[in-house]
C-alpha cells in the first residue's frame, strides 16, 4: 500500500517534466490501470460503507423513503434475516422502501438495499420479496458496484481510491467524486454477468433462509410478461438483461436442485397483511 502511494507520487512528480511527457504518460497510464485494478482490494470495509452511504443519500435525493414505518420495518426484518445467510452477516445491513412508483431495486456498497414501492406492490408473497432482496445483496457481497465504479469512472478517481487519501479523511473531494461516479453506475447499470451472478447466488441465499427458491424466478416471470414500453420499467429494463434470458439461465442452473424446498405458509401469508395498507 505504501509502495503504491509512493509510486503514484513519484510518477506524478516525474510527469511534471514535460520533455519526457510522452513516455511517461504511457507509464503513468499503466500504473493507473494497475492501481485501479487493485482498488477493490484496497478499499477497506469502512470506505466501502462510506461510499455506499453517499450513494444511498443520492438515491434518496432522487426518491425519498415511503412514509410507512410498518412496511419499512417489515422489509428490514426480511432483509436482515437473509443477510444472516450470507458471507457478510456483520455489515450494517439496512433496507428501505423508496416512495417511487417505478419498478426497481438497488444495492449500494456496504449493505444498503432499496426496493421501490412500485415493485413491492407487484409482489405476491414474502418469498418473492426475499428473492429480490437477496439478488440485491449479492451485488454487495461481490462488490459489483465498486468494480463498476473503478471500471467506468475516470481512472484518476479509481486510482485515488486505491491510495491512502480516503484513510486520513482529509481528502473528502476524492470521496465526493467516488460517490458521484458511483451514483452514475445506477443510471448505466452493471455488467450483465454481474446480474446473472446475483440471480443464481440470490436464489441460494433466499433458499438458505427458508424461502421458496422460485420467489425470484416468479418476479422475473412477472417482469417478462410486463409491458416493455411501460415507463415505470424503463430504467430497470435498460440496466438489466432481459427477464427471458435470466429465466433461461436459471432454468439450466436450478434444474431439479431446488425441488425439495418450499416456504412455510406462515411466512408467505404474512406478506399480504404487512403491505395491505399500501394498496
Amino acid at each position: 500500500m505504501r509502495y503504491l502511494t509512493l509510486s503514484i507520487l513519484c510518477i506524478s512528480l516525474v510527469h511534471a517534466i514535460p520533455a519526457h511527457a510522452f513516455d511517461l504518460d504511457f507509464q503513468k497510464a499503466l500504473n493507473l490501470v494497475k492501481s485501479a485494478q487493485q482498488a477493490s482490494k484496497t478499499v477497506d470495509q469502512s470506505e466501502e460503507i462510506e461510499i455506499g452511504h453517499g450513494i444511498a443519500a443520492n438515491l434518496l435525493g432522487a426518491s425519498p423513503l415511503l412514509a410507512d414505518d410498518k412496511v419499512q420495518g417489515y422489509v428490514n426484518q426480511v432483509g436482515r434475516w437473509l443477510s444472516l445467510h450470507s458471507e457478510r452477516p456483520d455489515l450494517p445491513w439496512q433496507f428501505g422502501v423508496l416512495a417511487s412508483t417505478d419498478l426497481n431495486a438497488f444495492a449500494t456498497p456496504g449493505g444498503t438495499i432499496f426496493i421501490t414501492r412500485g415493485l413491492l406492490l407487484r409482489l405476491n408473497n414474502e418469498s418473492e420479496l426475499a428473492g429480490v432482496l437477496a439478488h440485491e445483496m449479492v451485488h454487495v457481497l461481490r462488490k459489483h458496484h465498486l468494480a463498476a465504479l473503478q471500471k467506468g469512472a475516470r481512472m484518476d478517481i479509481a486510482s485515488m481510491l486505491a491510495n491512502e487519501a480516503l484513510k486520513d479523511k482529509a481528502n473528502t473531494e476524492v470521496l465526493d467524486k467516488a460517490i458521484k461516479a458511483g451514483t452514475e453506475v445506477y443510471a448505466r447499470g452493471l455488467d450483465k454477468e454481474d446480474e446473472f451472478e446475483a440471480d443464481r447466488m440470490g436464489i441460494v441465499i433466499a433458499t438458505r433462509a427458508g424461502y421458496d427458491p422460485y420467489g425470484l424466478p416468479a418476479v422475473l416471470e412477472m417482469l417478462d410478461a410486463s409491458n416493455a414500453q411501460d415507463s415505470s420499467l424503463a430504467l430497470m429494463f435498460k440496466t438489466h438483461p432481459a427477464p427471458h434470458d435470466r429465466l433461461m439461465l436459471l432454468e439450466k442452473q436450478m434444474a431439479e436442485r431446488f425441488d425439495d424446498f418450499t416456504a412455510p405458509a406462515q411466512a408467505d401469508k404474512r406478506f399480504e397483511s404487512e403491505v395491505a395498507q399500501l394498496k
Partner: protein, 168 residues
C-alpha cells in the same frame, strides 16, 4: 406419504389464481400428474403451445392445454406478454390476477424520480438516510421474525460455476 404431504401443502400454500393466466411453452416439456419430476407423465406439451396457467407451487405450475392438463415446470412456460396493451398500466402477472385491486396500482399518482436523468442529477438527501438507519433491525430481532414465520435455515452451497464468495 410424499403425495399426502403435497395435498396438505395445497391447502396451506397454494393461492389459487382466480382467473387463468394465458401463457405459452418455451420448449417441449412433460406434463405431469403431480408437481414432481418422478410423477406419472400425462402428455408432452409442445413448444409454443398455448396454456392456461391455473396456479403455481414452488417450481411447478398447473396448466390446461390442448396437449393435456397437469403440472409442468414453471420455467418451461411464460405468461403471455401484455406488450400489445396500450398505456402505462398494462402490467399483469399470473400471480397477480388473484389479488383484488392490483390493477389499480399503477394508476396511483406518486413519485417517480428514478429515471436515468434523475439519478445523474440527484442531490444527496442525508435526512432520509438518517431516517433509514433507524429502521435497521438487529440480528436477534431478525431471528425472532424468522421464528414467527416458521422460517428455518437450510444449508445449501452456491450453484456450480459460481465464483467463490467475496471475503469481507
Amino acid at each position: 406419504m410424499r403425495y399426502l404431504y403435497t395435498l396438505l401443502l395445497y391447502a396451506a400454500l397454494v393461492a389459487p389464481v382466480h382467473a387463468a393466466q394465458v401463457g405459452y411453452a418455451v420448449r417441449n416439456t412433460e406434463i405431469k400428474l403431480l408437481p414432481y419430476s418422478d410423477a406419472a407423465t400425462v402428455a408432452t406439451l409442445d413448444e409454443k403451445a398455448k396454456v392456461n396457467i391455473l396456479l403455481r407451487q414452488g417450481g411447478w405450475v398447473k396448466i390446461n392445454s390442448k396437449n393435456g392438463n397437469g403440472w409442468v415446470r414453471m420455467l418451461s412456460v411464460r405468461s403471455e406478454s401484455t406488450a400489445r396493451k396500450p398505456g402505462d398500466s398494462g402490467l399483469m402477472s399470473m400471480l397477480n390476477v388473484g389479488r383484488s385491486g392490483s390493477s389499480s396500482i399503477t394508476t396511483t399518482t406518486g413519485i417517480r424520480g428514478l429515471s436515468e436523468e434523475d439519478l445523474k442529477n440527484a442531490q444527496p438527501n442525508p435526512a432520509e438516510l438518517a431516517k433509514m438507519e433507524q429502521y435497521a433491525v438487529s440480528k436477534s430481532k431478525a431471528e425472532k421474525f424468522a421464528r414467527d414465520g416458521k422460517l428455518k435455515s437450510q444449508s445449501l452451497d452456491y450453484l456450480p460455476g459460481t465464483p467463490s464468495a467475496a471475503q469481507p
